[in-house]
Assembly symmetry: C2
Homo-oligomer: 125 residues x 2
Amino acid sequence: MYVIQNSELPRAALPGIEHVTLAGSQNGLKHLSIWKQSIAPGSATPPHRHDCEEVVLIQSGNGELHIEGKVQRFGQDTTLAIPRNVPHQIINIGDGPLELVGVLSVSPVAVFFPDGQPIDLPWAS
Amino acid sequence: MYVIQNSELPRAALPGIEHVTLAGSQNGLKHLSIWKQSIAPGSATPPHRHDCEEVVLIQSGNGELHIEGKVQRFGQDTTLAIPRNVPHQIINIGDGPLELVGVLSVSPVAVFFPDGQPIDLPWAS
């Protein structure tokens, strides 16, 4: 099965975040995990880090990336490149949903709070 | 620079394929390279393989994935998961452009024809 129907994939959620894992270890991948997420207005990811690189493709909406003491704003048609193990947080500062695809360079992905405590995610990666 | 403005990135092309590298080694990444491509109606990638995993996010259009002697059709809102070193070809079989984002698990990416001959790409990855 090389072709995945996105609409048939299981949905998961954290408060304010709808999540679908588009591809990852369930497809035999070891080095890619692809997460489609919709973050509600005013909601945010927890501050977190992971032991892999991440690229975030912003599909629609407006947000802020908080990283290394800086705040960087972004909108539609932008891309975020986040180095391995650097704590970061993505916040929806717009009136509509912030739609994004998170691309991670390992699968499965272990996610941690900045202090190193593991985050127990409610989805497979 | 964690936020990349897609519209400011350099454009490249192969016959029938418009290409933008959204993120990769130019952003300090070693394990992710992200390629945004538009394939014209009737056009296709060359048959090729690469020494890394690939996930293709289909944004719009209709196409065929030729892989391991099989032909698999796909449309909008599908995802392709392609294992390392498996030769494959993506063909636009629709009336409009086939818009996709290719995610590769190394950067830079070396691409080969199925017989192992390197393909000299006109873009940085």
